[in-house]
């Protein structure tokens, strides 16, 4: 990929990060032009966030992060007039930016030029004139929750009707509102509405100490605790200039792969169950449970909460535990292989999986598919492979992709990644670099921005951390790849029948909590 214009050197600075990362200050014209160039040359849009710096230099700031083949590019833009700050929308180049722009307006009151200005996270929880991420709001004010009208796009025509599903569902699952426009059983349009689990995480970060923030990051989306806490620690360590000891780095990667394994096992069972094959759920749940119990023995927590912390990890892995893990991988591998052949050879199951929720490669690439969903549509992206950080730079992970982009492809990617993760875990355990598992992280200098970017099991998760004075956090933006992939679900379901939606949705298995923040 080649960018036909270069940024002036004096506007460019390197950002502390676990990957190569630079930050460029741009004006509105360059901001827009960069988006066009990056979109045309296949750059990946990662995330968008804003900060209230009025107390420091009287400005708001908007940041956009892109993944380039060689590094991460963060563009910093000043949205001007503090009374009415506005920046050019990225949504026409990168459609997934639209919801982020709406969320930024809800939280910070900095508007994009995009005409769709419906609230995204606010849901009537605070007045339209209050912007909680601004520094003059201290987060202690209480507002009555008011019910607000939210206009969904109407589809008109003979026999078209709407089915509203959620946010309260028949099962105990996370809340999301799905508005289907259907003819008979066929889906003509799906519009999502999310934000029901907005917890104000970004504001909460600002009240925390740098050395405690990893705990909140781990709880952003409980199934990605290792990924988020690693991303947080990576950002903090990079700012503080600390290098994590090699043994701790290995153990972090081991935890991350365990997280991937546990989630893939759970999803494969749930996918079988959603197609009415309860046997699959029982078997995969058993395997997942065994793994979670192993996590307690090896990492001290079932879902790896607080295992990865600044400077290293919380617990060392004794030799006998490491041997037990290797034994367990053998049985896990054998059981998964058997179950895979049952899934592959079950006519009824394959009939449900194939052709359901197909996302073609071109569309997936154009809409910015990322992570597991992208890989199932042959959009090759995996930070562990294309932007490896320690210890993945040494492990040489293999990319697992599929081309068909349907539920069956997402099932196969999960099976493939279980095998690949087990290989990585073995390599990590065989590498017996002994040594300390933790090092001291000094207080970071204030007003420094750092980026942590980790490939979680869904896709990349990112933490952009800005330090405050005396170990405080000035601003912390956490990004889950679900932001990119939620809009894709609306496309994947088009032309499918309503009763196939739960299966397609499960095959994406995106995070509500991670998205809502």
């Amino acid at each position: 990929m080649h960018m036909s214009f270069d940024f002036p050197a004096q506007a460019t600075r390197q950002l502390p990060s676990n990957l190569a990362c630079r930050c460029v200050k741009v004006d509105a014209a360059s901001w827009r032009r960069a988006a066009e160039e990056l979109s045309a040359s296949g750059g990946r849009f990662l995330t968008l966030w804003g900060a209230d710096d009025r107390g420091r230099d009287g400005r708001f700031r908007i940041y956009a992060a892109y993944l380039l083949p060689q590094d991460v590019l963060v563009l910093e833009h000043d949205p001007g007039d503090v009374a009415n700050p506005t920046y050019p929308s990225l949504a026409s180049q990168f459609p997934s930016a639209l919801r982020m722009e709406r969320a930024i307006y809800d939280l910070l009151g900095v508007a994009s030029t995009e005409p769709d200005n419906r609230g995204w996270l606010r849901h009537g929880g605070w007045p339209e004139t209050v912007f909680p991420l601004r520094r003059d709001v201290d987060g202690t004010q209480q507002y009555p929750v008011v019910s607000e009208a939210y206009p969904f796009l109407q589809v008109e025509g003979d026999g078209v009707h709407e089915i509203a599903v959620g946010p309260v569902h028949a099962g105990i699952i996370e809340p999301g509102n799905f508005r289907f426009s259907v003819v008979g059983e066929k889906v003509l349009r799906l519009e999502e509405r999310l934000g029901y689990t907005h917890k104000g995480i970004a504001k909460r970060f600002e009240e925390m100490r740098q050395h405690d923030g990893y705990r909140l990051a781990a709880r952003l989306s409980g199934d990605s605790a290792a990924a988020f806490s690693w991303a947080y620690c990576a950002a903090l360590e990079a700012i503080a200039g600390t290098v994590c000891p090699p043994r701790a780095t290995n153990l972090r990667a081991l935890a991350l792969e365990h997280e991937r394994l546990a989630n893939h096992l759970g999803d494969l069972g749930a996918l079988g169950n959603d197609a009415g094959f309860a046997f699959g759920l029982t078997q995969f749940s058993r395997l997942k449970e065994d793994l979670l119990r192993t996590n307690v023995a090896a990492f001290g927590a079932r879902y790896l909460m607080d295992y990865i912390l600044p400077g290293g990890v919380a617990l060392d892995l004794p030799e006998h535990a490491s041997r037990a893990l290797l034994d367990q991988y053998l049985t896990l591998e054998r059981d998964v292989k058997n179950l895979r052949s049952i899934y592959d050879e079950h006519g009824g199951l394959q009939d449900r999986f194939r052709e359901a929720g197909r996302l073609e490669k071109d569309l997936a690439a154009k809409l910015g598919a990322i992570g597991l969903v992208g890989r199932a549509s042959d959009v090759c992206c995996d930070l562990r492979v294309d932007h490896p950080w320690a210890p993945y730079d040494r492990l040489k992970a293999t990319l697992v992709t599929q081309t068909s982009g349907d539920v069956a492809a997402r099932v196969q990617v999960r099976f493939g990644e279980i095998g690949e993760s087990l290989q990585l875990c073995r390599m990590l355990l065989e590498d017996v670099s002994s040594g300390p598992i933790r090092t001291e992280v000094p207080l970071a200098e204030p007003d420094r921005l750092g980026v942590g970017l980790i490939e979680g099991w869904r896709g990349p998760v990112m933490i952009a951390l800005e330090t405050g004075p005396d170990g405080a956090i000035r601003r912390c933006h956490a990004h889950d790849s679900s932001w990119q992939n939620w809009p894709l679900l609306e496309y994947a379901v088009l032309g499918n029948i309503v009763p196939d939606f739960p299966l397609i949705n499960k095959s994406f298995n995106l995070s509500y909590s991670g998205h809502d923040g």
Binding site: I172, D274, A275
Partner: protein, 317 residues
């Protein structure tokens, strides 16, 4: 009608109502075992009913009298159907009033009420469930009729007790067409009772539901009655199957003593145990069909039943 036949008639209905949840509980147990899960207790369905009867009913604001009456209609229809089907004895006074075709009509009545009640509230899910239920129902009924015609051709009557008596009289002559009819019947039974591969009784995914979607607005005693009626329907279908294909042990005309009745009861329990295990086995092996495959599935059942008819006619010729 003598007093004793009346008492037996009553006893049969009471027995059906009493043990229908047990049959559902048994199937749930078998399913759990087949999936290597530890099973819920056999009496779990009764506990569920007990719990529901002790709750206060919540009704949607727009619920009409139809919505409130439907659980009683369903339960009544299924209890009446149990009175027509010879599960223990064939000498049933009520069975003379209605033959098997009327029985199908009775099931259809229940279905119409349930669908109307589901649409009564006006939620998207109720309507969705009702329209899927009607689709499955109108495809299943002809297949079921064909199965029954098959049996009628063999014994020359449309009354289920006559079939059982007929079997008893010509014990040796098992018509090969019956095998076709039995396969078709099993397929219809699964579809009509909201079982896999057509519907998934255990799902929590509201968009995939057929039967469950129609019950979403019911609570407490209403829900208890509807659930009870569902298990009674399954029990009735099993008993129709026994009467058509496995009639051994049912006390026929003239076998009035206590011993035949006891043997009939023992045979019924044994057959239910086997049928429950077999149903659970079939269900555990299958995944749920995509909903537009349901017509193919039921057309297949219809076709197999028709083949049975043809086989019968050819062999007779």
């Amino acid at each position: 009608m003598s007093g004793i036949t009346f008492i037996r008639q009553l006893a049969e209905v009471v027995l059906a109502i009493a043990i229908a949840p047990l049959f559902s509980g048994w199937i749930a147990q078998c399913r759990a075992w087949l999936q290597n899960r530890s099973a819920p207790p056999l009496l779990q369905p009764y506990r569920m009913l007990d719990k529901l009867f002790h709750k206060d009913a919540a009704l949607a604001m727009d619920a009409s009298a139809l919505f409130r009456a439907t659980p009683y209609v369903l339960f009544g229809a299924m209890a009446l159907a149990a009175a027509i089907i010879p599960s223990l004895v064939t000498d049933l006074p009520l069975a003379r009033v209605a033959d098997a075709i009327a029985l199908i009509g009775l099931f259809a009545t229940a279905r119409v009420f349930q669908s109307l009640a589901a649409m009564d509230i006006g939620t998207a899910f109720g309507t969705m469930g009702a329209r899927r239920e009607m689709m499955v129902g109108f495809l299943a009924e002809p297949a079921l009729l064909m199965v029954l015609f098959n049996a009628f051709l063999v014994f020359g009557s449309t009354a289920l007790p006559d079939l059982v008596d007929g079997y008893a009289a010509h014990r040796a002559a098992v018509d090969p067409s019956v095998i076709f009819a039995a396969v078709a019947f099993l397929m219809v039974l699964l579809a009509e009772n909201a079982r896999l591969p057509i519907d998934n009784p255990a799902t929590h995914l509201e968009l995939t539901m057929i039967h469950e979607a129609m019950l979403l607005e019911y609570s407490a005693r209403h829900l208890a009655l509807v659930e009870w009626a569902s298990s009674l329907k399954l029990f009735n279908y099993a008993c129709i199957g026994f009467a058509l294909f496995l009639p051994w042990g049912i006390a026929t005309h003239g076998q009035d003593g206590g011993l035949p009745l006891f043997l009939a009861f023992a045979a019924l329990i044994g057959k239910l145990a086997l049928a429950g295990a077999a149903l659970a086995f079939v269900e555990s092996l299958s995944a749920k069909l995509r909903i537009f495959r349901a017509p193919e599935y039921l057309a297949m059942a219809f076709l197999i039943a028709v083949l049975g008819l043809l086989v019968h006619l050819l062999l007779r010729a």
